[in-house]
């Protein structure tokens, strides 16, 4: 083989490998079948060009471009100055609907960022390729930490200003807890006493009897008895001492009742 042939072979092989590598890492893809979508954010939490796009947890595309547009507004009129252009495979395109939501999530050990699309409902129409949609801004951890610092500072300031009251409150609380503990110990001891146990048993029996009695009072028979007693008392109301004595004398009974 001549030198030129060997060099030509090496050249050809190198170019082939460069092209293969570019295809393998997704830099060029002549057979790609994707649709693009513009997702608007105000904060994208560190997502980058090339970050994966997932629908229902399956990778279906990637972030192809990130643009800053100070005048950009979402369809609802809300300001969203960050435009993230994503590519989605055609096979997953029908799962992305108008009511789909676009989250920025973390995955893996090193906290890789990816764009997660929740599947939309079938009643909603599909997006047109290249359409803009508002994404869900991820929570800002730095902001949360900063706010926590502020809150902690305020708490410390409050405690420092009212150090005496806080100390006395804590002392009182301590005493309260001690007393509650003592009370609980006494209660425990009391529950183990035999007399108290008997007392409780009797109370239970009395309560059962009372329940039985009150139950009986609601029956028809009890109502009739009550009615009868009521009538009797009504009739006896007019009776007084002399009348009763006269009645007894008439009947020949001598008694010293009154």
């Amino acid at each position: 083989m001549k030198s030129e042939q060997k060099v030509g072979l090496l050249f050809f092989l190198s170019i082939l490998l460069v092209a293969f590598f570019a295809w393998a890492i997704g830099f060029i893809n002549p057979f790609s079948q994707t649709h693009s979508l513009k997702v608007l954010y105000n904060y994208a939490g560190g997502i980058e060009v090339g970050s994966p796009v997932r629908v229902m947890g399956i990778k279906v595309g990637k972030v192809s471009r990130i643009q800053f547009d100070a005048l950009k507004k979402s369809t609802t009129g809300e300001e969203a100055k960050l435009v993230i252009e994503i590519e989605i495979d055609k096979k997953a395109w029908s799962s992305v609907r108008k009511d789909s939501r676009f989250f920025i999530n973390l995955a893996g050990v090193i906290g890789e960022k990816f764009l997660e699309i929740s599947p939309g409902s079938l009643s909603q129409p599909e997006f047109e390729p290249g359409e803009s949609v508002r994404g869900e801004d991820p929570p800002r951890i730095d902001q949360l930490i900063s706010q926590s610092y502020g809150l902690a500072g305020k708490i410390i300031e409050l405690v420092e200003k009212n150090e005496g009251s806080v100390s006395s409150t804590i002392a009182q609380l301590d005493k309260l807890v001690t007393n509650v503990n003592k009370t609980l110990v006494l209660l425990e001891k009391t529950s183990q006493n035999k007399d108290v146990s008997r007392l409780v048993d009797n109370a239970i029996k009395i309560s059962d009897d009372l329940a039985y009695l009150t139950g009986q009072l609601r029956t028809k028979k009890a109502e009739d008895t009550y009615e009868l007693v009521h009538k009797l008392l009504f009739r006896l109301e007019n009776l007084d001492g002399p009348a009763v004595r006269k009645f007894l004398q008439d009947e020949g009974i001598k008694a010293k009742i009154f």
Partner: protein, 227 residues
């Protein structure tokens, strides 16, 4: 054009540098890649009990540093030493003076074809070494660590950009220029006698290797601004 750049001579030099160095380069980088993958996996498992990111990390190291530097050092020790010895021999046998007498500039006859050949050869060898390294890395990941093809490619796509590959080729071109120029310099400054040839060859290899390491650092630092 052909005459000015001495293309036929350059072709012969490419054959000498790239074609003849290919087996040793591929053999060595393949083993380097295998060791890189296994060591990375071992360390990651020890540190965070998880080696799912190892193919990505290792591929990044292979593409950005390992393949191109190992290739350049191997070419230095094989072809660079050969070039320095050849030019030294030409120098002590007064062939260089003969060229001057014929009105031929020594740099255009000796240095230029070797420079072109070194640059082209290192670019080709780097591309081949990168691919072979990644293939070896995939092979050992698949067989020994149990990564599927999809996991390996997914991890690669997460960490590697196409510009990593292109920048490694650029590094290869710079290293090729260093190897040919240093060999020419030490060959042309060779002292008379067998000792002189030996010394110039040794110095050429040592100097080229040092320059490759230093320039690799400088280029790595410069390229970091492109990300």
């Amino acid at each position: 054009m052909m005459k000015k750049f001495r293309i036929p001579e350059s072709m012969k030099q490419i054959e000498f540098i790239a074609w003849q160095s290919l087996p040793v380069v591929l053999f060595c980088v393949a083993f380097a890649a295998v060791v890189t993958i296994l060591e990375s996996s071992f360390h990651m498992r020890m540190a965070i009990q998880n080696d799912s990111m190892v193919p990505g990390f290792a591929a990044m190291l292979i593409l950005r540093e390992l393949a191109v530097v190992v290739t350049a050092l191997l070419v230095t020790s094989r072809a660079g030493a050969g070039m320095a010895a050849e030019i030294s021999s030409m120098k002590i046998t007064e062939q260089v003076e003969a060229l001057k007498m014929l009105g031929i500039q020594p740099w255009s006859y000796i240095w230029l074809p070797r420079f072109i050949a070194s640059v082209v050869s290192l670019v080709i060898l780097t591309a081949l070494a990168n691919s072979f390294c990644l293939f070896s890395a995939f092979w050992v990941s698949n067989i020994y660590l149990g990564f599927s093809q999809g996991m390996f490619i997914g991890s690669l796509q997460r960490f590697i950009q196409f510009q990593d590959f292109l920048l490694s080729l650029a590094k290869g071109a710079v290293f090729g220029a260093i190897i040919s120029t240093v060999s020419y310099y030490f060959g042309m400054n060779c002292k008379d006698g067998a000792d002189g040839v030996g010394n110039s060859t040794t110095n050429s290899v040592v100097c080229s290797s040092l320059l490759i390491i230093i320039v690799d650092f400088a280029l790595g630092y410069m390229f970091s601004f492109l990300y």
